[in-house]
């Protein structure tokens, strides 16, 4: 497989996505809502509690841990959900523009094409995830450091690092591959997104389980991450096996 060929496809797809307002707004909106707005609301709620009710040290740290846990969880859900929006465009978008036939006529292999399309969905999803996670971490840390009862930085911690650094990208790859399989099988974006949404649901449970395991034990989290990585590789090969140029070309509506 020639990675530079895949990268050409990735760059083109990223250029197309950049010009698509729907994709852009979707990419920006979810991290802002889940990663920034919700933690701010929780912080305000907790601040109100701190000022009105005398919380014990344990109660306070339990509440703080909940906020950090939720904020971390959101940033593993975001890369699992976002690909249903962006990856559904990868092949269906080409079908709509009728650009898949000339693309398939180029000396590019199925693997190169699929990897290029996968990267084009993975990169923006992970980019907004990390930007959102960084902003969220800054907000939470600023609050925790300036709150006298806490007075310390809460993020990054080992749990946050494992989830954001390992589980989130693995979840994203899984979602991207699943959505690309769907996208290469259907003919319109809505169907791709609806089916993609359905696929994401079980994925969300997997991701929640993986994140929870990270809270329970590091060893368990490593095991779950390895399982996710194996599943990602299997999904890539499955997408390659199910990607039939002929079916895509002859079953266009």
């Amino acid at each position: 497989m020639r990675l530079w060929k895949s990268w050409i496809v990735t760059k083109k797809d990223l250029s197309v996505f950049r010009k698509n307002k729907y994709v852009l707004y979707s990419l920006i909106a979810m991290p802002i809502i889940l990663g920034v707005v919700l933690p701010v609301i929780f912080i305000f709620a907790l601040n109100a509690q701190i000022s009105s009710v005398q919380l014990t040290h344990d109660q306070l740290f339990a509440a703080v841990n909940q906020i950090v846990g939720l904020a971390t969880m959101y940033f593993v859900l975001i890369p699992a959900i976002l690909p249903s929006i962006i990856a559904s465009y990868s092949f269906v978008g080409e079908k709509i523009e009728k650009s898949l036939e000339p693309l398939l006529a180029t000396p590019t292999t199925d693997g190169e094409l699929l990897l290029g399309k996968s990267l084009a969905a993975f990169i923006p999803c992970m980019a907004v995830t990390y930007i959102g996670a960084a902003i969220s971490a800054i907000i939470i840390d600023f609050w925790s450091y300036t709150t006298p009862q806490i007075g310390t930085f809460l993020i990054p911690n080992p749990y946050w690092l494992l989830v954001i650094g390992v589980i989130a990208p693995l979840a994203c790859i899984m979602s991207v591959e699943a959505n690309i399989i769907v996208s290469s099988k259907v003919n319109d974006i809505r169907a791709a997104q609806q089916l993609g949404g359905l696929i994401v649901l079980p994925l969300v449970f997997v991701v929640i389980f993986a994140s929870t395991s990270a809270q329970i034990s590091t060893l368990l989290a490593i095991g779950v991450s390895a399982a996710l990585a194996v599943a990602d590789i299997a999904l890539f090969y499955l997408s390659k096996a199910t990607f039939q140029r002929e079916e895509i070309l002859t079953k266009w509506k």
Binding site: K98, P107, T108, T250
Partner: protein, 309 residues
């Protein structure tokens, strides 16, 4: 350059292409004529390695369409213009061509040079940075042709290149194909525009699932009826008729009003003799014309016969 032997493609129980055997010479413009659903696009897709065959053989140059490695080489050496232009509307004309140039592995300098040359030739260079979505259908078609040529392919497959274009845009595209013909590229032209096929192609194949006929446009036109010479006179006298009937070259003679209608095997050779004999017999010739069938007559006859079978 292009060879097929009993090339067949079935979709379930439906046979889209049935035992097509043809040979296209290097530098030839080969027209592929047929009604909708005749199997033209399926044939081109098989030859471009976009879909597989059910049976038979096909080669482009030295490469067979069966083998995955050969397919990559075939895709690299052919340019393909599909029926739908399939450009990225949100990207500029330049970016569209640059993307395909990269996929066809054209070095950067050559790519830039080719894009400039092609867009200038097609009169779009000034608008190279405009989004393709802002262009007319005709201009998009020109860009799609430029895309098919971005890697200087030896073989060019054009699927209905002037379909849905206004007459002016269609003429521009046809003129461009004529320019490519001068460059001695092998061009495989799918069309149901008979006039276009006649003007552009060295040879034409008529397809309706099976290959019905392959020949030059002239020979196809002649194949329907024998060539007839019509001599218009101010008056057809019995002396003139008798004199013409004596000629060995004249196979069949009949009169209609003031016209003599003659069947002659080799009109270019024998018509001067016919004219001389008529004048000697006192005939006063107004003009001499040839009655020949058009490509449309031949096409319709062959397609109807194929449909009736």
């Amino acid at each position: 350059m292009i060879d097929t032997k009993n090339l067949t493609r079935k979709f379930g129980n439906l046979t889209a292409v049935d035992n097509v055997t043809l040979h296209v010479e290097k530098g030839e413009v080969f027209g592929f004529l047929g009604p909708n659903g005749a199997g033209k696009t399926t044939t081109v897709r098989m030859l471009c390695c976009l879909i597989g065959k059910t049976s038979g053989e096909a080669k482009i140059g030295d490469y067979t369409i069966d083998n995955e490695n050969d397919c990559l080489k075939i895709r690299k050496m052919v340019g393909f213009l599909p029926e739908n232009v399939g450009l990225y509307d949100s990207l500029s004309a330049y970016r569209n061509l640059d993307f395909y140039g990269q996929l066809y592995e054209v070095p950067e300098n050559k790519r830039r040079e080719n894009i400039e040359r092609l867009l200038t030739l097609l009169g779009i260079w000034e608008r190279r940075e405009d989004a393709v979505g802002t262009f007319s259908k005709g201009t998009k078609q020109k860009i799609a042709i430029a895309r098919a040529l971005i890697h200087d392919p030896q073989v060019l497959f054009l699927d209905e290149p002037t379909a849905n274009l206004d007459p002016e845009a269609a003429k521009t595209v046809r003129d461009f194909i004529l320019e490519l013909k001068k460059e001695k590229r092998t061009i495989f032209l799918n069309t149901h525009n008979l006039d276009e096929a006649e003007r552009l192609c060295d040879r034409i194949a008529i397809l309706k699932t099976k290959l019905i006929a392959v020949d030059s446009p002239k020979n196809l036109e002649r194949s329907l009826y024998n060539r007839k010479t019509i001599v218009h006179l101010d008056n057809v006298s019995s002396l003139v008729v008798a004199a013409v009937q004596k000629l060995n070259a004249v196979k069949n003679l009949r009169t209609s009003d003031n016209k003599l209608i003659l069947n002659i095997d080799d009109p270019e050779k024998d018509n001067p003799e016919v004219v001389r004999v008529i004048v000697q017999a006192g005939g006063n010739i107004q003009y001499v014309t040839e009655l020949r069938s058009t490509l449309e007559d031949v096409y319709l006859k062959l397609i109807r016969e194929a449909s009736a079978q």
